[in-house]
């Protein structure tokens, strides 16, 4: 089976000293993976290389068998960055934020409005924001904004999901529902990668835990995850 994400011999970083060097990784479709580790260990760098924001200095990054450098390959990834809804200057509705997640997989010019609305509605339902679809996103709480950004990644049911600290600002009471939704998506064949410092949120649903330290990855057990994740 073609891996959802495949990284071979990756060297990448921001300056002369690489953050990642010689990194290998394969994530299968349907796997629920939690990527954890201390601040500065290289988690976000790895994510940004996979979604094409940082070009690798060396090595191969494939998304469903195609180079991540190709835009068409990246359109199969739903990505939610850590910084939330970003800096909004003008009023933007929750539905507009979520629709931006559908846009890249559609024809650039016109069309698909009905299909877009259906995909946006489904994503909003997943994060419990259906009632707030027409609200201005920067009038919402931090947690609701975070859920809107996650809905943007979920919109369109892409086969690969990468969520950077998705539970950071979210109310503990809502987290189980969101985690269960992600697990259901993994069961349906989506590769789910979650970057998290909080092992408790995903303890019962994850298939695999990757611990990153000093730019190196290793699989750890649930028990290790619990202890190392807490110390991260």
């Amino acid at each position: 089976m073609t891996p959802a994400i495949e990284v071979r011999g990756l060297r990448a970083g921001y300056g002369p000293v690489p953050v990642l060097d010689g990194l290998d990784l394969a994530i299968a479709p349907g796997q629920f993976v939690v990527l954890t580790g201390p601040n500065g260990s290289g988690k976000s760098t790895l994510i940004k290389v996979i979604v094409g924001l940082i070009p690798p200095e060396r090595g191969t990054v494939l998304v469903l068998g195609r180079s991540a450098a190709i835009p068409e390959a990246r359109r199969r990834i739903g990505y939610a960055p850590q910084q939330g809804a970003g800096r909004m200057v003008l009023p933007v509705s929750v539905a507009e934020v979520v629709e931006a997640g559908v846009t890249p997989s559609r024809s650039l010019i016109g069309g698909g409005r009905k299909a877009n609305r259906d995909l946006v509605a489904a994503a909003l339902d997943s994060v419990g924001l259906t009632d707030l679809a027409d609200e201005c996103v920067f009038e919402l709480s931090g947690g609701q904004q975070q859920r809107a950004v996650i809905a943007r990644a979920l919109a369109g049911d892409k086969p690969v999901l990468i969520l950077d600290e998705p539970t950071n600002a979210i109310d503990r009471s809502f987290r189980p529902r969101m985690v269960a939704d992600l697990r259901r998506r993994a069961d349906d064949g989506t590769a789910v990668v979650v970057v998290s410092h909080d092992p408790d949120d995903f303890h019962d649903v994850t298939d695999r835990i990757l611990f990153m330290e000093d730019g190196r990855l290793r699989d750890v057990s649930h028990e290790d995850f619990h202890s190392e994740g807490r110390s991260a």
């Binding site: 924001l53 390959a73 200057v89 933007v92 507009e96 609200e135 947690g143």
Partner: protein, 286 residues
């Protein structure tokens, strides 16, 4: 000035061809300018229209020096200047306001020197800077209409990807959208609008019509789409009302009255929006 003078001047806007041309051109530019302005404001690039406008003055001077129309000179230099501004921004050399300020001064200074070298630093230069709405030809109106149709068509067709980039450029790039091409298109459309608005409100004021109606719309809207709709209405209303005020008074520069009207509407919308936001409390919970 008597009431008869005022009303007869109003009527000139309808009965005389120069008035009709002014009405059509001003309304067109007023309504079209927010189509790029909304995206520029959302991306915190509100001053790009001003930068392109300043550079376009050098284009008008270039046209005068080499012997072709100032409009075409402005069009060429505005487009090249817009591409240059975007290239500097992408390479991280336009993150502060210093680089933009240097380009402003380059455009104005080169324009002043070029126009004086061509022996054209006269009242026509004021028309370039602040508009010459009542001296438009039907050919000018047709050019403005064509530029307006190009801008509106491009924004309508590419609305969703342009909005995705404006909301979050990094995520749009990660998702495989052609971010650089879309950004380049946006500044090129801005350059077309600058040239279209040059004869209407002038190079120094045209960017105001891209920004101020959008700022007004943002005070009462809850989405980007409704902000744009309000901005188009405010832009059109400002152009009409500003032109009527200038026509009624008889000696005011229409470019100035149009922009001042849009600023007055911004203040009005800000007051209305504040009251509305008190009534419309969002549901806060995590």
């Amino acid at each position: 000035m008597t009431d008869v003078d005022t009303s007869s001047r109003f009527l000139l806007l309808i009965t005389e061809e120069f008035g009709q041309r002014a009405l059509i051109a001003a309304t067109l530019i007023g309504m079209v300018a927010p189509f790029t302005g909304a995206f520029l404001v959302q991306r915190r690039l509100s001053l790009v229209g001003d930068g392109v406008g300043h550079l376009a003055l050098a284009g008008v001077a270039l046209g005068a020096l080499v012997g072709f129309s100032g409009v075409w000179g402005a069009l060429v230099v505005a487009l090249l200047g817009a591409v240059l501004l975007e290239a500097l921004r992408v390479r991280g050399r336009l993150t502060g306001d210093l680089s933009l300020a240097l380009l402003f001064y380059l455009g104005i200074a080169a324009g002043a020197v070029g126009l004086s070298l061509a022996g054209r630093f006269d009242t026509s230069a004021l028309g370039v800077l602040f508009g010459s709405l009542f001296s438009l030809s039907w050919g000018d109106v047709a050019l403005i209409a064509v530029l307006g149709v190009v801008v509106v068509a491009a924004v309508v067709l590419l609305y969703r990807p342009l909005l995705a980039v404006a909301l979050d450029e990094e995520t749009a790039r990660a998702a495989g959208l052609p971010v650089d091409a879309l950004n380049l298109l946006l500044v090129a459309l801005t350059a077309l609008l600058v040239v279209g608005g040059m004869r209407v409100v002038g190079l120094l004021l045209v960017a105001a019509l891209m920004v101020v109606p959008v700022a007004a719309g943002s005070k009462v809207a809850h989405s980007f789409r409704s902000t744009l709709a309000w901005a188009v209405a405010v832009g059109g209303a400002s152009a009409l009302a500003g032109l009527m005020i200038a026509a009624a008074q008889g000696e005011l520069v229409p470019g100035g009255t149009i922009v001042l009207t849009s600023i007055a509407l911004f203040v009005l919308f800000a007051m209305v929006g504040r009251r509305a936001s008190v009534a419309h409390r969002p549901r806060k919970s995590t």
